[in-house]
Amino acid sequence: MIRKIISSISILIFVFYWMTTLIFVSPKNYLNINLLEYSDLFNSFFYQKWVFFAPPPKTNERLYYTFENKFNSKDIQIFEVIEPITKAKSENNPFNTEEDLLDYVLSNSINNIRETVINTSEFIKYQEKKLNKKFTELEKEKIYDSEIDNSSRFKTLKNYSKNVAIKNNININNYNIKLTISLIEIVPFSERNNIIYICKTEDMYISKSFNLNNDEKIIK
């Protein structure tokens, strides 16, 4: 009898668990939007995302570090870090753990910053609607600046400049550093055999100059 009672309670817990999972994991709908206040609690314990390249990215990323000598304006050194890592990752496959993890840290940090920019843009739109006023470009820039600067992923990329500097024998005290994320469009499927189209276009996504004393400034 006791076993049956405990088993019945287990079934109820099981049903409750699967109901909540279905509600919070499914795409945005009436039910989970109404229960938004509980989603943080659910995600703290059972966070999951099953999108799997839906949609797949249509760009490849590049991350540049520009070192500008404070005392010699002609001394400018530029290093791109993503392409060599992805190349090494492909070449050393399947024994590419180090490159793979480094790629995850850098590329996921870039993706996270891109998500932050999108979320901030939505936040600004929401605030404008709520307050019934238009933010000036300067105000918008300040909000973006603060959101990006405070993200741990941007700090990660900023810190990586030290590794780049050490690797290339650069004394960071003598240089201003600029971090640039750019995106290279994958040739659209319809144009894949168009020879004229196959010329890489690279668009700058974000560019920030900083020194490692937390004194950054948005350039573009």
Binding site: I2, R3, K4, I6, S7, S8, S10, I11, F14, W18, T21, V25, S26, P27, S44, F46, Y47, Q48, K49, W50, V51, F52, F53, A54, P55, P56, P57, K58, N60, T86, K89, S90, N93, P94, F95, N96, T97, E98, D100, L101, D103, Y104, V105, S107, N108, S109, N112, S152, R153, K155, T156, N159, Y160, K162, N163, I186, V187, F189, R192, N193
Partner: protein
Amino acid sequence: MMKKLLNNYSTKFEYSFYCALFRVFIALFLIKDVIITNGLKNLLYKGVEFYIPTKSFLLEILSIDTNFIRNNFDYFNILYLIIIILYLFGVGKKFTAFMLYIIFDIMQQLNSVTLNGGDNLLKFILLYMVFINSYEYFSISKIKYKNPEFKKFDNFISNMGVLSIKLHLCLVYFLSAVHKINADVWFNGVATYYTLSLERFRGTTFNLYIAKNAFIVLISTYMTILIEISYPFLIWFKKTRKILVILAIMLHISISILMMLLDFQVVFILVQGFFFSNKEILLTINKIKNFQKKTKKMSNPIKLKNIFKISGIWIFIIIMLRVMYLLIKNYLL
């Protein structure tokens, strides 16, 4: 219906063999991960290199400072390794399984930036494994119950655990398919062109050639959606189960080769085995035995034990070679 479910699930646990096998595989898989990431622990877990880690929610709930664990990560890592080894041999049974789940979750929270879908699924599988009696095989001892009522409850909970694993896999495929159908490139049959063109996931030099073939792109895109959308519904029927499992395994193998997502896909492939009961696995093995007898290629009849021994030895050799390679790479070179 409730009564029938209770009775059916309490009478016997039909998945004990694969659950035990899965326990061993996952333990070895996690040991491999510990060895691989050991060389990069300063970057990934200790937070002493450029990566800025975030706080662990679970540790904060337990009133343990995340930085305390980071500062003493070497000891924490040894504890993690000990728990995995205990789990591998079935020592401590469900308590060890629970400890493994907790530590695995903390490890994921200590470094969330390198996680992928395979890691995410594995976290849930480890949670469900806490409830499953996976100690009938490949364990130093079995769980013994003096009271048959306890045994019945154990069967019930184990069956619920296996059902959860199956449901979770179905949920993953279903949601993935729903999102894909909603994305233009998947809907229009060109998505694999973009996935194969990504530099980060260029597993072979053929990726770009395959991507340029419109026919392959179309077939692979729609086949992916077809497998993912049909899996949650057709996997429950005996007639379609084997076909779907074979298709799913083929899908995951091709992703692992073409996109360099080996660990991710290994988890998904291993989980497929939960759809086969002890009876079905034995039946398949017997069919192979009978086939071999018919062809008279073997002079001695194969015993089930020998199959496990031979496959076990091979798995052990492959894992040891991989571990040796990683040790040499991480510590000697």
